[in-house]
Amino acid sequence: MLAANDLRKRFFAGTPNERVALDGLSFDLKPGAFCVVIGSNGAGKSTLLNAIAGKFPLDGGSIAIAGEDVTALPAWQRARLVARVFQDPMTGTAPGMTVEENLLLAETRGQKRWLTWGLTASRRATYRDQLALLGLGLENRLSDRIDLLSGGQRQAISLIMAAQGKPQLLLLDEHTAALDPVTAGRVMEATLRVVAENKLTTLMVTHNMQHAIDHGDTLLMLDAGRVQFLATGDEKNRLSIEDLIARFRHKEDRILLAG
Protein backbone atom coordinates (compact mmCIF):
# COMPACT_ATOMS: atom_id res chain seq x y z
CA MET A 1 0.00 0.00 0.00
CA LEU A 2 2.88 2.29 0.87
CA ALA A 3 6.34 1.82 -0.59
CA ALA A 4 9.05 4.21 0.57
CA ASN A 5 12.29 3.60 -1.27
CA ASP A 6 15.62 5.19 -0.26
CA LEU A 7 14.12 8.53 0.83
CA ARG A 8 16.65 11.33 1.14
CA LYS A 9 16.17 14.90 2.33
CA ARG A 10 18.59 17.56 3.51
CA PHE A 11 17.34 20.83 5.02
CA PHE A 12 19.27 24.11 4.69
CA ALA A 13 21.67 22.43 2.27
CA GLY A 14 24.87 24.41 1.75
CA THR A 15 24.48 26.46 4.95
CA PRO A 16 26.04 25.98 8.39
CA ASN A 17 22.60 24.75 9.55
CA GLU A 18 22.55 21.89 7.06
CA ARG A 19 20.77 18.91 8.53
CA VAL A 20 20.18 15.46 7.08
CA ALA A 21 16.58 14.60 7.92
CA LEU A 22 16.07 11.48 5.80
CA ASP A 23 19.10 9.36 5.01
CA GLY A 24 18.13 6.52 2.70
CA LEU A 25 14.96 5.49 4.52
CA SER A 26 13.09 2.50 3.03
CA PHE A 27 10.12 0.40 4.15
CA ASP A 28 6.86 -1.11 2.84
CA LEU A 29 3.38 -1.35 4.31
CA LYS A 30 0.82 -3.98 3.35
CA PRO A 31 -2.79 -2.92 2.72
CA GLY A 32 -4.64 -2.56 6.01
CA ALA A 33 -1.44 -2.34 8.09
CA PHE A 34 -1.47 -0.18 11.22
CA CYS A 35 2.11 0.98 11.64
CA VAL A 36 3.32 2.80 14.76
CA VAL A 37 6.34 5.05 14.20
CA ILE A 38 8.65 5.87 17.12
CA GLY A 39 12.06 7.45 17.45
CA SER A 40 13.86 10.14 19.44
CA ASN A 41 13.58 13.84 18.60
CA GLY A 42 15.11 14.57 15.24
CA ALA A 43 14.93 10.94 14.12
CA GLY A 44 12.90 11.99 11.09
CA LYS A 45 9.36 10.94 12.08
CA SER A 46 7.61 14.16 11.14
CA THR A 47 9.84 14.63 8.10
CA LEU A 48 8.80 11.17 6.92
CA LEU A 49 5.11 12.04 7.24
CA ASN A 50 5.64 15.39 5.51
CA ALA A 51 7.50 13.63 2.70
CA ILE A 52 4.64 11.15 2.22
CA ALA A 53 2.06 13.97 2.27
CA GLY A 54 4.11 15.91 -0.28
CA LYS A 55 4.98 18.99 1.78
CA PHE A 56 8.38 19.28 0.09
CA PRO A 57 10.21 17.68 -2.84
CA LEU A 58 12.62 14.90 -1.92
CA ASP A 59 16.34 15.07 -2.72
CA GLY A 60 16.23 11.41 -3.70
CA GLY A 61 14.21 8.20 -3.51
CA SER A 62 10.61 7.45 -4.41
CA ILE A 63 7.24 7.03 -2.75
CA ALA A 64 4.38 4.92 -4.08
CA ILE A 65 0.91 4.85 -2.56
CA ALA A 66 -1.50 2.09 -3.61
CA GLY A 67 0.85 1.22 -6.46
CA GLU A 68 0.96 4.76 -7.81
CA ASP A 69 4.28 6.63 -7.87
CA VAL A 70 3.51 9.98 -6.20
CA THR A 71 7.10 11.23 -5.84
CA ALA A 72 6.59 14.09 -8.31
CA LEU A 73 3.08 15.09 -7.17
CA PRO A 74 2.46 18.21 -5.03
CA ALA A 75 0.52 17.90 -1.77
CA TRP A 76 -2.85 18.90 -3.23
CA GLN A 77 -2.66 16.13 -5.85
CA ARG A 78 -1.78 13.47 -3.26
CA ALA A 79 -4.84 14.42 -1.21
CA ARG A 80 -7.03 11.90 -3.04
CA LEU A 81 -4.81 9.13 -1.63
CA VAL A 82 -3.65 10.50 1.73
CA ALA A 83 -5.45 12.00 4.73
CA ARG A 84 -3.72 13.40 7.77
CA VAL A 85 -4.32 14.42 11.37
CA PHE A 86 -1.76 16.80 12.85
CA GLN A 87 -0.45 17.20 16.40
CA ASP A 88 -1.79 20.77 16.58
CA PRO A 89 -5.59 20.81 16.26
CA MET A 90 -5.27 24.23 14.58
CA THR A 91 -3.27 22.86 11.65
CA GLY A 92 -5.81 20.38 10.38
CA THR A 93 -8.95 22.54 10.43
CA ALA A 94 -9.99 25.80 8.76
CA PRO A 95 -10.69 28.45 11.42
CA GLY A 96 -13.47 30.93 10.76
CA MET A 97 -15.42 28.20 8.95
CA THR A 98 -18.11 26.05 10.52
CA VAL A 99 -17.79 22.43 11.63
CA GLU A 100 -20.00 21.29 8.73
CA GLU A 101 -17.99 23.31 6.19
CA ASN A 102 -14.81 21.66 7.46
CA LEU A 103 -16.42 18.25 7.10
CA LEU A 104 -17.52 19.13 3.57
CA LEU A 105 -13.95 20.11 2.64
CA ALA A 106 -12.82 16.70 3.87
CA GLU A 107 -15.66 14.81 2.18
CA THR A 108 -14.74 16.37 -1.19
CA ARG A 109 -11.02 15.78 -0.61
CA GLY A 110 -9.24 15.09 -3.85
CA GLN A 111 -12.49 15.11 -5.86
CA LYS A 112 -13.80 17.56 -8.41
CA ARG A 113 -15.79 20.28 -6.65
CA TRP A 114 -18.84 21.65 -8.42
CA LEU A 115 -20.83 24.85 -8.49
CA THR A 116 -23.58 23.03 -6.64
CA TRP A 117 -24.95 23.85 -3.22
CA GLY A 118 -22.42 22.64 -0.67
CA LEU A 119 -24.25 21.88 2.55
CA THR A 120 -27.31 19.93 1.51
CA ALA A 121 -29.75 18.50 4.04
CA SER A 122 -28.57 14.94 3.34
CA ARG A 123 -24.94 15.91 3.91
CA ARG A 124 -25.83 17.59 7.19
CA ALA A 125 -27.68 14.46 8.31
CA THR A 126 -24.66 12.28 7.46
CA TYR A 127 -22.28 14.58 9.36
CA ARG A 128 -24.63 14.59 12.34
CA ASP A 129 -24.58 10.77 12.46
CA GLN A 130 -20.80 10.62 12.07
CA LEU A 131 -20.21 13.09 14.90
CA ALA A 132 -22.79 11.40 17.13
CA LEU A 133 -20.61 8.26 17.08
CA LEU A 134 -17.89 10.18 18.97
CA GLY A 135 -20.20 10.62 21.95
CA LEU A 136 -18.96 14.17 22.61
CA GLY A 137 -22.20 16.00 21.78
CA LEU A 138 -20.60 17.55 18.69
CA GLU A 139 -23.56 16.59 16.51
CA ASN A 140 -25.35 19.65 17.91
CA ARG A 141 -22.58 22.05 16.93
CA LEU A 142 -22.49 21.55 13.16
CA SER A 143 -23.06 25.22 12.36
CA ASP A 144 -20.66 26.56 15.02
CA ARG A 145 -17.32 27.98 13.93
CA ILE A 146 -14.72 25.28 14.46
CA ASP A 147 -12.26 27.65 16.16
CA LEU A 148 -14.75 28.08 19.01
CA LEU A 149 -14.35 24.39 19.97
CA SER A 150 -11.74 23.00 22.38
CA GLY A 151 -8.55 21.36 21.14
CA GLY A 152 -9.87 17.88 21.92
CA GLN A 153 -13.14 18.52 20.11
CA ARG A 154 -11.30 19.87 17.08
CA GLN A 155 -8.97 16.87 17.08
CA ALA A 156 -11.90 14.45 17.25
CA ILE A 157 -13.46 16.24 14.28
CA SER A 158 -10.10 16.16 12.44
CA LEU A 159 -10.18 12.40 12.81
CA ILE A 160 -13.71 12.13 11.37
CA MET A 161 -12.56 14.46 8.58
CA ALA A 162 -9.52 12.30 7.81
CA ALA A 163 -11.68 9.17 7.53
CA GLN A 164 -14.04 10.82 5.01
CA GLY A 165 -13.88 9.13 1.65
CA LYS A 166 -11.77 6.22 3.03
CA PRO A 167 -8.27 7.41 2.08
CA GLN A 168 -5.74 4.81 0.91
CA LEU A 169 -3.39 5.98 3.63
CA LEU A 170 -4.05 7.70 6.96
CA LEU A 171 -1.21 9.70 8.58
CA LEU A 172 -1.48 10.45 12.31
CA ASP A 173 1.24 12.84 13.49
CA GLU A 174 1.29 12.58 17.31
CA HIS A 175 -2.35 13.50 17.09
CA THR A 176 -3.07 13.01 20.80
CA ALA A 177 0.13 14.60 22.15
CA ALA A 178 -1.32 18.09 22.67
CA LEU A 179 -4.41 16.85 24.56
CA ASP A 180 -5.04 16.22 28.27
CA PRO A 181 -4.87 12.49 29.24
CA VAL A 182 -8.64 11.93 29.39
CA THR A 183 -9.31 13.60 26.03
CA ALA A 184 -6.25 11.90 24.53
CA GLY A 185 -7.71 8.54 25.61
CA ARG A 186 -11.05 9.33 23.98
CA VAL A 187 -9.44 10.48 20.73
CA MET A 188 -7.26 7.33 20.71
CA GLU A 189 -10.33 5.15 21.19
CA ALA A 190 -12.10 6.93 18.36
CA THR A 191 -8.99 6.50 16.21
CA LEU A 192 -8.92 2.74 16.68
CA ARG A 193 -12.61 2.47 15.91
CA VAL A 194 -12.42 4.63 12.77
CA VAL A 195 -9.35 2.76 11.49
CA ALA A 196 -10.93 -0.65 12.11
CA GLU A 197 -14.33 0.28 10.65
CA ASN A 198 -12.85 1.68 7.46
CA LYS A 199 -9.90 -0.80 7.29
CA LEU A 200 -7.53 2.13 6.74
CA THR A 201 -3.82 1.62 6.17
CA THR A 202 -2.38 3.80 8.91
CA LEU A 203 0.94 5.35 9.86
CA MET A 204 0.86 6.71 13.42
CA VAL A 205 3.73 8.69 14.93
CA THR A 206 3.77 8.61 18.74
CA HIS A 207 6.03 9.42 21.68
CA ASN A 208 3.93 7.24 23.95
CA MET A 209 5.69 3.85 24.35
CA GLN A 210 2.54 2.28 25.82
CA HIS A 211 0.61 3.26 22.68
CA ALA A 212 3.40 1.83 20.55
CA ILE A 213 3.13 -1.51 22.37
CA ASP A 214 -0.66 -1.65 22.64
CA HIS A 215 -1.67 -0.56 19.16
CA GLY A 216 -0.90 -1.48 15.61
CA ASP A 217 0.48 -4.57 13.89
CA THR A 218 3.73 -3.03 12.71
CA LEU A 219 6.36 -1.01 14.55
CA LEU A 220 8.86 1.25 12.85
CA MET A 221 11.69 2.76 14.90
CA LEU A 222 13.60 5.56 13.21
CA ASP A 223 17.02 6.93 14.04
CA ALA A 224 18.92 9.69 12.25
CA GLY A 225 16.69 9.50 9.20
CA ARG A 226 17.02 5.73 8.77
CA VAL A 227 15.01 2.67 9.80
CA GLN A 228 16.63 1.36 12.96
CA PHE A 229 14.15 -1.41 13.64
CA LEU A 230 11.03 -2.77 11.95
CA ALA A 231 8.80 -5.37 13.60
CA THR A 232 5.64 -6.95 12.24
CA GLY A 233 3.17 -9.66 13.23
CA ASP A 234 4.22 -11.89 16.16
CA GLU A 235 7.53 -10.12 16.61
CA LYS A 236 5.64 -6.85 17.13
CA ASN A 237 3.15 -8.54 19.48
CA ARG A 238 5.91 -9.93 21.69
CA LEU A 239 7.62 -6.54 22.13
CA SER A 240 7.57 -4.92 25.56
CA ILE A 241 8.31 -1.35 26.61
CA GLU A 242 11.61 -2.63 28.04
CA ASP A 243 12.58 -3.98 24.63
CA LEU A 244 11.93 -0.62 23.04
CA ILE A 245 13.81 1.29 25.71
CA ALA A 246 16.72 -1.14 25.36
CA ARG A 247 16.89 -0.30 21.68
CA PHE A 248 16.86 3.42 22.43
CA ARG A 249 19.55 2.86 25.07
CA HIS A 250 21.61 0.80 22.70
CA LYS A 251 21.80 3.87 20.53
CA GLU A 252 22.68 6.15 23.45
CA ASP A 253 25.48 3.79 24.52
CA ARG A 254 26.90 4.05 21.04
CA ILE A 255 26.83 7.82 21.31
CA LEU A 256 28.60 7.65 24.68
CA LEU A 257 31.24 5.30 23.32
CA ALA A 258 31.75 7.45 20.26
CA GLY A 259 32.11 10.49 22.54
Binding site: A53, P74, A75, W76, Q77, A79, R80, A83, R84, T91, G92, T93, A94, P95, G96, M97, E101, L104, L105, A106, T108, R109, G110, Q111, R113, W114, L115, T116, W117, G118, L119
Partner: protein, 305 residues
Protein backbone atom coordinates in the same frame (compact mmCIF):
# COMPACT_ATOMS: atom_id res chain seq x y z
CA UNK B 1 -27.76 74.86 9.93
CA UNK B 2 -25.92 76.03 6.87
CA UNK B 3 -23.46 73.15 7.26
CA UNK B 4 -26.27 70.66 7.62
CA UNK B 5 -27.99 71.98 4.50
CA UNK B 6 -24.82 71.76 2.47
CA UNK B 7 -24.32 68.18 3.64
CA UNK B 8 -27.95 67.32 2.90
CA UNK B 9 -27.67 68.62 -0.64
CA UNK B 10 -24.61 66.45 -1.23
CA UNK B 11 -26.29 63.20 -0.09
CA UNK B 12 -27.73 62.05 -3.48
CA UNK B 13 -24.50 62.76 -5.37
CA UNK B 14 -22.29 61.06 -2.80
CA UNK B 15 -24.69 58.13 -2.55
CA UNK B 16 -24.43 57.48 -6.30
CA UNK B 17 -20.65 57.92 -6.06
CA UNK B 18 -20.38 55.51 -3.14
CA UNK B 19 -22.36 52.80 -4.95
CA UNK B 20 -19.89 53.01 -7.84
CA UNK B 21 -16.98 52.80 -5.39
CA UNK B 22 -18.69 49.91 -3.56
CA UNK B 23 -17.44 47.62 -6.34
CA UNK B 24 -13.80 48.56 -5.82
CA UNK B 25 -14.24 48.35 -2.03
CA UNK B 26 -15.48 44.80 -2.58
CA UNK B 27 -12.50 44.16 -4.86
CA UNK B 28 -10.14 45.42 -2.14
CA UNK B 29 -11.84 43.27 0.53
CA UNK B 30 -11.73 40.04 -1.49
CA UNK B 31 -7.99 39.23 -1.45
CA UNK B 32 -7.39 40.78 1.99
CA UNK B 33 -10.22 38.99 3.73
CA UNK B 34 -11.41 35.97 1.75
CA UNK B 35 -7.89 34.86 0.75
CA UNK B 36 -5.89 36.45 3.63
CA UNK B 37 -3.48 37.71 0.98
CA UNK B 38 -2.87 41.48 0.76
CA UNK B 39 -3.21 42.90 -2.74
CA UNK B 40 -2.61 46.49 -3.88
CA UNK B 41 -3.36 45.98 -7.57
CA UNK B 42 -6.72 47.79 -7.27
CA UNK B 43 -4.83 51.10 -7.56
CA UNK B 44 -3.95 50.01 -11.12
CA UNK B 45 -6.88 47.82 -12.17
CA UNK B 46 -9.37 50.60 -11.39
CA UNK B 47 -7.90 53.15 -13.85
CA UNK B 48 -7.11 50.34 -16.31
CA UNK B 49 -10.81 49.44 -16.43
CA UNK B 50 -11.71 53.10 -16.84
CA UNK B 51 -9.16 53.72 -19.61
CA UNK B 52 -10.06 50.61 -21.63
CA UNK B 53 -13.73 51.49 -21.30
CA UNK B 54 -13.15 55.16 -22.25
CA UNK B 55 -10.98 54.35 -25.24
CA UNK B 56 -13.48 51.81 -26.61
CA UNK B 57 -16.47 54.14 -26.17
CA UNK B 58 -14.56 56.97 -27.82
CA UNK B 59 -13.79 54.59 -30.70
CA UNK B 60 -17.53 54.12 -31.19
CA UNK B 61 -18.02 50.77 -29.45
CA UNK B 62 -20.99 49.85 -27.29
CA UNK B 63 -20.70 50.82 -23.61
CA UNK B 64 -21.60 47.24 -22.67
CA UNK B 65 -18.67 45.87 -24.65
CA UNK B 66 -16.47 48.63 -23.20
CA UNK B 67 -17.33 47.65 -19.62
CA UNK B 68 -16.80 43.97 -20.36
CA UNK B 69 -13.40 44.62 -21.95
CA UNK B 70 -12.42 46.92 -19.07
CA UNK B 71 -13.31 44.24 -16.51
CA UNK B 72 -11.34 41.64 -18.46
CA UNK B 73 -8.33 43.98 -18.38
CA UNK B 74 -8.71 44.20 -14.60
CA UNK B 75 -8.87 40.41 -14.38
CA UNK B 76 -5.57 40.16 -16.23
CA UNK B 77 -3.97 42.82 -14.02
CA UNK B 78 -5.03 40.99 -10.84
CA UNK B 79 -3.87 37.63 -12.21
CA UNK B 80 -0.54 39.20 -13.19
CA UNK B 81 0.09 40.25 -9.58
CA UNK B 82 -0.85 36.78 -8.35
CA UNK B 83 1.38 35.14 -10.94
CA UNK B 84 4.39 37.29 -10.02
CA UNK B 85 3.80 36.53 -6.33
CA UNK B 86 3.31 32.79 -6.72
CA UNK B 87 5.90 32.05 -9.41
CA UNK B 88 8.75 34.31 -8.32
CA UNK B 89 8.02 34.32 -4.58
CA UNK B 90 7.90 38.14 -4.54
CA UNK B 91 5.80 39.64 -1.73
CA UNK B 92 2.29 40.30 -3.00
CA UNK B 93 2.55 43.94 -1.83
CA UNK B 94 5.67 44.59 -3.88
CA UNK B 95 4.29 42.62 -6.83
CA UNK B 96 1.17 44.81 -6.72
CA UNK B 97 3.16 48.05 -6.73
CA UNK B 98 5.25 46.86 -9.68
CA UNK B 99 2.15 45.90 -11.67
CA UNK B 100 0.39 49.19 -10.81
CA UNK B 101 3.39 51.17 -12.04
CA UNK B 102 3.50 49.21 -15.28
CA UNK B 103 -0.25 49.62 -15.82
CA UNK B 104 0.13 53.42 -15.85
CA UNK B 105 2.09 53.18 -19.11
CA UNK B 106 -0.42 50.68 -20.48
CA UNK B 107 -3.23 53.14 -19.72
CA UNK B 108 -1.47 55.90 -21.67
CA UNK B 109 -0.86 53.51 -24.57
CA UNK B 110 -4.51 52.47 -24.63
CA UNK B 111 -5.90 56.01 -24.58
CA UNK B 112 -3.10 57.67 -26.55
CA UNK B 113 -3.38 60.70 -24.25
CA UNK B 114 -3.95 61.30 -20.56
CA UNK B 115 -7.69 61.94 -20.76
CA UNK B 116 -10.65 61.54 -23.11
CA UNK B 117 -13.99 63.35 -22.89
CA UNK B 118 -16.99 61.02 -23.34
CA UNK B 119 -19.91 63.45 -23.01
CA UNK B 120 -20.88 63.18 -26.67
CA UNK B 121 -20.91 59.35 -26.64
CA UNK B 122 -23.67 57.04 -25.36
CA UNK B 123 -23.15 55.61 -21.87
CA UNK B 124 -24.46 52.58 -20.03
CA UNK B 125 -26.87 54.50 -17.84
CA UNK B 126 -28.62 56.33 -20.68
CA UNK B 127 -28.79 53.15 -22.77
CA UNK B 128 -30.68 51.36 -19.99
CA UNK B 129 -33.04 54.29 -19.31
CA UNK B 130 -32.89 57.62 -21.16
CA UNK B 131 -31.49 60.46 -19.01
CA UNK B 132 -30.59 58.10 -16.17
CA UNK B 133 -27.06 59.47 -15.94
CA UNK B 134 -28.35 62.93 -15.07
CA UNK B 135 -31.31 61.78 -12.95
CA UNK B 136 -30.01 60.63 -9.56
CA UNK B 137 -33.46 59.30 -8.63
CA UNK B 138 -33.00 56.65 -11.33
CA UNK B 139 -29.27 56.21 -11.16
CA UNK B 140 -29.11 55.41 -7.44
CA UNK B 141 -31.66 52.53 -7.52
CA UNK B 142 -30.00 51.17 -10.67
CA UNK B 143 -26.56 51.13 -9.04
CA UNK B 144 -28.02 49.71 -5.82
CA UNK B 145 -29.51 46.90 -7.87
CA UNK B 146 -26.09 46.18 -9.37
CA UNK B 147 -24.46 46.08 -5.92
CA UNK B 148 -27.24 43.80 -4.62
CA UNK B 149 -26.68 41.49 -7.58
CA UNK B 150 -22.95 41.32 -6.80
CA UNK B 151 -23.64 40.55 -3.12
CA UNK B 152 -26.20 37.88 -4.00
CA UNK B 153 -23.94 36.17 -6.53
CA UNK B 154 -20.91 36.28 -4.23
CA UNK B 155 -22.90 34.87 -1.32
CA UNK B 156 -24.40 32.09 -3.43
CA UNK B 157 -20.96 31.21 -4.84
CA UNK B 158 -19.37 31.01 -1.40
CA UNK B 159 -21.97 28.42 -0.37
CA UNK B 160 -21.24 26.06 -3.27
CA UNK B 161 -18.64 23.28 -3.08
CA UNK B 162 -16.27 25.45 -5.11
CA UNK B 163 -16.94 28.50 -2.93
CA UNK B 164 -16.30 26.64 0.32
CA UNK B 165 -13.01 25.37 -1.14
CA UNK B 166 -12.13 28.96 -2.11
CA UNK B 167 -12.70 30.20 1.45
CA UNK B 168 -10.62 27.34 2.85
CA UNK B 169 -7.56 28.74 1.03
CA UNK B 170 -7.94 31.99 2.98
CA UNK B 171 -8.71 30.24 6.27
CA UNK B 172 -5.83 27.74 6.28
CA UNK B 173 -3.79 27.26 3.11
CA UNK B 174 -1.97 24.12 4.33
CA UNK B 175 -5.23 22.50 5.35
CA UNK B 176 -6.83 23.43 2.03
CA UNK B 177 -3.99 21.78 0.09
CA UNK B 178 -4.24 18.71 2.32
CA UNK B 179 -7.87 18.48 1.16
CA UNK B 180 -6.78 18.51 -2.47
CA UNK B 181 -7.45 22.18 -3.18
CA UNK B 182 -4.99 23.80 -5.59
CA UNK B 183 -4.15 26.90 -3.53
CA UNK B 184 -2.23 28.76 -6.24
CA UNK B 185 -5.07 28.42 -8.73
CA UNK B 186 -7.59 29.76 -6.22
CA UNK B 187 -5.35 32.72 -5.39
CA UNK B 188 -4.87 33.43 -9.10
CA UNK B 189 -8.62 33.37 -9.75
CA UNK B 190 -9.36 35.36 -6.59
CA UNK B 191 -6.89 38.12 -7.49
CA UNK B 192 -8.30 38.08 -11.02
CA UNK B 193 -11.88 38.42 -9.80
CA UNK B 194 -10.85 41.25 -7.46
CA UNK B 195 -9.09 43.01 -10.36
CA UNK B 196 -12.15 42.59 -12.57
CA UNK B 197 -14.39 44.16 -9.90
CA UNK B 198 -12.03 47.12 -9.42
CA UNK B 199 -11.85 47.63 -13.20
CA UNK B 200 -15.64 47.36 -13.45
CA UNK B 201 -15.86 50.09 -10.82
CA UNK B 202 -13.45 52.26 -12.84
CA UNK B 203 -15.44 51.68 -16.03
CA UNK B 204 -18.67 52.72 -14.27
CA UNK B 205 -17.03 55.85 -12.90
CA UNK B 206 -15.72 56.91 -16.29
CA UNK B 207 -19.19 56.66 -17.83
CA UNK B 208 -20.82 58.32 -14.87
CA UNK B 209 -18.52 61.35 -14.88
CA UNK B 210 -18.24 61.55 -18.67
CA UNK B 211 -14.49 61.42 -19.06
CA UNK B 212 -11.64 58.94 -18.71
CA UNK B 213 -8.37 60.01 -17.10
CA UNK B 214 -5.19 58.04 -16.37
CA UNK B 215 -5.06 59.56 -12.88
CA UNK B 216 -8.46 58.39 -11.59
CA UNK B 217 -6.74 55.57 -9.73
CA UNK B 218 -4.62 57.72 -7.49
CA UNK B 219 -5.53 56.96 -3.87
CA UNK B 220 -8.45 54.61 -4.62
CA UNK B 221 -6.80 51.74 -2.75
CA UNK B 222 -6.85 53.76 0.47
CA UNK B 223 -10.44 54.82 -0.23
CA UNK B 224 -11.30 51.16 -0.62
CA UNK B 225 -9.39 50.14 2.47
CA UNK B 226 -11.07 52.91 4.48
CA UNK B 227 -14.44 51.65 3.25
CA UNK B 228 -13.62 48.05 4.24
CA UNK B 229 -12.42 49.04 7.71
CA UNK B 230 -15.35 51.39 8.40
CA UNK B 231 -17.73 48.75 7.07
CA UNK B 232 -16.27 46.05 9.29
CA UNK B 233 -16.64 48.29 12.34
CA UNK B 234 -20.35 48.60 11.48
CA UNK B 235 -21.22 45.08 10.32
CA UNK B 236 -18.53 43.01 12.05
CA UNK B 237 -16.94 39.97 10.41
CA UNK B 238 -18.71 37.20 12.30
CA UNK B 239 -20.23 35.55 9.23
CA UNK B 240 -19.68 35.35 5.49
CA UNK B 241 -22.70 37.56 4.96
CA UNK B 242 -21.37 40.32 7.22
CA UNK B 243 -17.95 40.12 5.62
CA UNK B 244 -19.46 40.57 2.16
CA UNK B 245 -21.70 43.40 3.29
CA UNK B 246 -18.89 45.30 5.03
CA UNK B 247 -17.24 46.94 1.97
CA UNK B 248 -20.60 48.08 0.59
CA UNK B 249 -21.86 49.52 3.89
CA UNK B 250 -18.38 50.98 4.42
CA UNK B 251 -18.27 52.65 1.00
CA UNK B 252 -21.60 54.36 1.67
CA UNK B 253 -20.51 55.45 5.16
CA UNK B 254 -17.10 56.60 3.95
CA UNK B 255 -18.53 58.91 1.29
CA UNK B 256 -20.93 60.42 3.81
CA UNK B 257 -18.03 61.11 6.17
CA UNK B 258 -16.15 62.76 3.30
CA UNK B 259 -19.27 64.72 2.49
CA UNK B 260 -19.52 65.98 6.08
CA UNK B 261 -15.87 67.05 5.92
CA UNK B 262 -16.54 68.95 2.69
CA UNK B 263 -19.67 70.57 4.16
CA UNK B 264 -17.59 71.67 7.13
CA UNK B 265 -15.32 73.48 4.71
CA UNK B 266 -12.47 71.03 4.08
CA UNK B 267 -10.78 71.79 0.75
CA UNK B 268 -11.24 68.90 -1.74
CA UNK B 269 -7.47 68.92 -2.28
CA UNK B 270 -6.99 67.93 1.39
CA UNK B 271 -9.17 64.82 1.06
CA UNK B 272 -6.32 62.37 0.43
CA UNK B 273 -4.57 63.50 3.60
CA UNK B 274 -7.82 63.27 5.55
CA UNK B 275 -8.56 59.76 4.24
CA UNK B 276 -5.05 58.56 5.01
CA UNK B 277 -5.27 60.05 8.49
CA UNK B 278 -8.64 58.36 9.02
CA UNK B 279 -7.27 54.94 8.04
CA UNK B 280 -4.17 55.44 10.20
CA UNK B 281 -6.27 56.53 13.14
CA UNK B 282 -8.51 53.49 12.93
CA UNK B 283 -5.61 51.10 12.58
CA UNK B 284 -3.75 52.76 15.44
CA UNK B 285 -6.79 53.13 17.73
CA UNK B 286 -6.14 49.97 19.76
CA UNK B 287 -2.60 51.18 20.55
CA UNK B 288 -3.58 54.76 21.35
CA UNK B 289 -6.73 54.14 23.36
CA UNK B 290 -6.05 51.90 26.37
CA UNK B 291 -9.82 51.41 26.74
CA UNK B 292 -9.91 49.17 23.68
CA UNK B 293 -9.00 45.72 24.90
CA UNK B 294 -6.90 43.26 22.98
CA UNK B 295 -8.99 41.07 20.77
CA UNK B 296 -11.44 43.87 20.05
CA UNK B 297 -12.72 44.18 16.50
CA UNK B 298 -10.36 47.09 15.77
CA UNK B 299 -7.36 45.17 17.05
CA UNK B 300 -8.19 42.19 14.88
CA UNK B 301 -8.47 44.42 11.83
CA UNK B 302 -5.14 46.07 12.52
CA UNK B 303 -3.35 42.76 12.82
CA UNK B 304 -4.74 41.30 9.65
CA UNK B 305 -4.59 44.28 7.27
Amino acid sequence: MDVFLRFYELVPVTLAQSLIYAFIAFGVMLPFRLLSFPDLTSEGSFPLGGCICGALIAAGHSPFLAILAGSLGGFLAGSATALVTLKFRISSLLAGIIIVTMIYSVDLRIMGKSNIALFQFPNLFDLVLPDMNTTLGLKIPFLALGVALLLGLAYAFLRTEKGIAFRAVGANLDMAEAQGIHGSRQILLGFGAAGALCAFSGALLVQSQGFADVNIGFGVLINGLASVIIGELITGRGSVWRQLLAPVVGAVAYFQIISICLALGLAPTDLKFATGALVLLMLAAPKILPGLKRGSEAEKIRETV
